[in-house]
């Protein structure tokens, strides 16, 4: 599986800033990741870690007025997406090859349009094969059935559907053009547990059936364990640990932040008296600490951590950016 033509997406040293009136927010600071065909990568982190910004940068849907990609390349099927002209992005890539599923199904759907029409619209917009209206209709029905909604419901308006059904419609819109990559931005956060389980099971099944690659953005380590092949943990705009699920959940190395994330979760199988949270807060993205960005909150912080930004310590496919494991093996910093 190591041949390079299996490679679907390769992000290299991506840096994104938001410029507000007086301050610059360093949202993504040198993210590198890669994704093979049919693979699922979990992008994990808390609010403000830069997960969504990374995803939006890949799709090139960052707000023009404030956001700026300062550095990096995003290679998708051999093209650097950052250099592709916008009309090519719109016709041919965004929505067609790379689709996104948003967190909030309520605001992702147009409330005054029948759901069937919304799915058909996505298809018509990218209608390269010049499908006849009947064919489009057929494809809509097929996609609805794929996500577990009876095709008769395509005449419903979004408010007539429950939250879980709406998210299924959103997923149907994403799938209708048969993309090769889906970016799912917290797809089940707005749903109840039992509905979440239904939707996740459905996504899992579809991915297997269609062979679509996926970047799953989430804060829930449980969902990652269930769904992903590889995991990237983000903190303050950087990937601080990346590897296969096995390596992240039971590998030899573990970034103290990852340890903190696991410690913050109550264990369902054992009775614990106390949780071990990470003390302190996310750093101010306009004024990030020097050295390791996690150092002010890190229980195992050393002197070097305050000075030098750690590089990756590598073990197989597992990479951890922490001085505890050596970490000093030079890492480009653009400060």
């Amino acid at each position: 599986m190591n041949t390079s033509n299996n490679m679907l997406l390769k992000v290299e040293n991506l840096q994104v800033v938001y410029k507000a009136r007086r301050e610059t927010v360093y949202a993504v600071n040198g993210v590198s990741l890669s994704l093979k065909k049919g693979e699922t990568l979990g992008l994990v982190g808390e609010t403000g870690a830069g997960k969504t910004t990374t995803a939006y940068a890949i799709l090139r849907v960052l707000p023009d007025r404030t956001a700026k990609v300062v550095n990096g390349t995003i290679e998708f099927e051999g093209k650097n997406l950052l250099e592709v002209p916008e009309n090519l992005m719109r016709h041919g890539i965004r929505g067609e090859k790379i689709a996104i599923i948003f967190q909030d199904p309520m605001s992702a759907l147009n409330p005054i349009m029948k759901v069937g029409d919304q799915i058909a619209e996505a298809l018509k917009f990218h209608n390269k094969e010049e499908l006849s209206p009947e064919k489009i209709e057929e494809q809509v029905d097929r996609t609805l059935e794929l996500v577990g909604i009876q095709k008769e419901r395509k005449y419903d308006f979004p408010h007539q559907l429950s939250g879980g059904m709406k998210q299924r419609v959103v997923i149907a819109i994403a799938l209708v053009c048969e993309p090769v990559l889906i970016i799912a931005d917290e797809p089940t956060t707005a749903l109840d547990v039992t509905i979440q389980a239904q939707v996740l099971a459905m996504i899992d099944e579809l991915r297997e059936k269609l062979g679509t690659a996926m970047i799953l953005i989430t804060h829930d380590l449980g969902i990652v364990a269930q769904m992903c092949d590889n995991v990237a943990i983000m903190y303050a705009g950087e990937i601080i640990e990346i590897g296969s699920v096995e390596e992240i959940y039971s590998g030899k190395m573990q970034h103290p932040y990852t340890t903190g994330l696991f410690g913050s979760l109550p264990d369902l199988e054992k009775k614990t008296d106390r949780l071990y949270p990470i003390e302190g807060l996310m750093p101010d993205p306009t004024d990030l600490p020097t050295g390791c960005k996690f150092n002010p909150r890190c229980p195992r912080c050393m002197d070097i951590c305050r000075e030098v930004q750690p590089g990756f310590s590598v073990e197989g496919t597992h990479r951890v950016a922490c001085h505890l494991y050596g970490g000093g093996t030079g890492r480009e910093t653009d400060e």
Binding site: S162, Q226, Y249, R274, L275
Partner: protein, 323 residues
């Protein structure tokens, strides 16, 4: 465990119905329970199961349609405004949304001291200031934040303000309505630890309302599972997780994604269908339309919440010996 049992809150057949355009919504329908002093009752359920309404009805922030609520033997439901204000000194609430539950025009110190001021509990200004400082210390807010305003603070700190405000009156009993669901995991754990420490130190009694089963297991002594306005199962926390009886509880437990690799790709048994709404419900088990074990007996008559083992109550015909 040998402490003597003293019920602090007794809820009998509490009902709250809302009139809607489509009919009468049975948000809380005939819920009864007792909490002993110093214990925590977890109330779990999905959106629309009535758990938040239950909390607000106990405090009489919304007027109950029927039933009784006794706090230390006094019936809250039949109290007049004045008695109610006095009783509310003993019970407080921590709200879900750290953004809308504190007044954006007040500084941290003003928010925390407001309960003292409106109840005219502290005489001098200094007394109030001291108490505010102490409360801020208890919930881990740095003293320099005294004059900050909520919009300058993140969700975790705002939620600490909410907790400090609830503690300012030194209540015995606190209803926590999803106090951590709007927060990030690492901040969640900080808040949960604060709540657990406070319980230890002050002997507080909690009702902990949440949709997050792992949190509720961690913090509760007893758990009540709600579905569409009714309590379907109630047991001690350990018992409920090791011996869930009601098919809904089982489905709920199976649906939690576990943060380790033991259940990876073992597809959980997913329950079908969606949560309905309890508008003019017909008698019968409300979970029956989604239940794999439902028979014609489940329709037509409400299953009673019966004790099937020591302290383990379930409202399901499968376990009531009727099937």
């Amino acid at each position: 465990m040998s402490e003597k049992k003293k019920p602090i809150l007794v809820v009998n057949n509490l009902k709250k119905y809302f009139r809607t355009k489509k009919g009468l919504l049975h948000a809380v329908d005939d819920v009864s329970f007792t909490i002993d002093e110093g214990r925590t009752l977890g109330v779990v359920g999905e959106s629309g199961c009535g758990k938040s309404t239950l909390g607000k009805t106990i405090l009489r922030l919304t007027e109950p349609t029927g039933g009784e609520v006794f706090l230390e033997g006094e019936d809250i439901v039949s109290m007049n405004e004045k008695q109610l204000r006095k009783t509310r000194l003993k019970m407080q609430m921590i709200f879900q949304d750290p953004y809308s539950s504190i007044d954006p025009r007040m500084s941290v110190a003003q928010i925390i001291s407001d309960p003292l001021k409106v109840n005219r509990l502290c005489g001098s200004r200094k007394e109030i200031d001291d108490r505010v400082d102490r409360m801020m210390d208890v919930v881990g807010l740095a003293p320099r934040l005294r004059d900050s305003y909520p919009h300058e603070l993140d969700g975790g700190r705002r939620q600490r303000i909410g907790i400090a405000r609830a503690l300012a009156l030194d209540p015995k009993f606190i209803i926590c309505d999803e106090p951590v669901s709007a927060l990030d995991v690492s901040i969640q754990a900080q808040i949960i630890n604060i709540l657990m420490d406070l319980k230890e130190e002050k002997g507080l009694t909690y009702i902990f309302i949440t949709h997050d089963l792992s949190v509720v297991k961690h913090i509760s002594d007893e758990i009540a599972v709600m579905y569409l306005g009714q309590c379907v199962e109630k047991a001690s926390s350990d018992e409920l997780f090791s011996q869930p009886l009601h098919p809904y509880t089982k489905a709920l437990l199976a649906a939690i994604p576990v943060p380790n690799l033991s259940k990876r790709h073992a597809r959980p048994t997913v329950i079908r269908g969606e949560v309905g709404n309890p508008i003019d419900p017909a008698p019968g088990c409300r979970f029956a339309p989604r239940c794999d074990f439902a028979t014609e007996k489940c329709v037509g008559r409400n299953p009673e919440l019966r004790e099937v083992a020591n302290g383990h109550f379930v409202a399901c015909l499968l376990h009531n010996g009727e099937m």
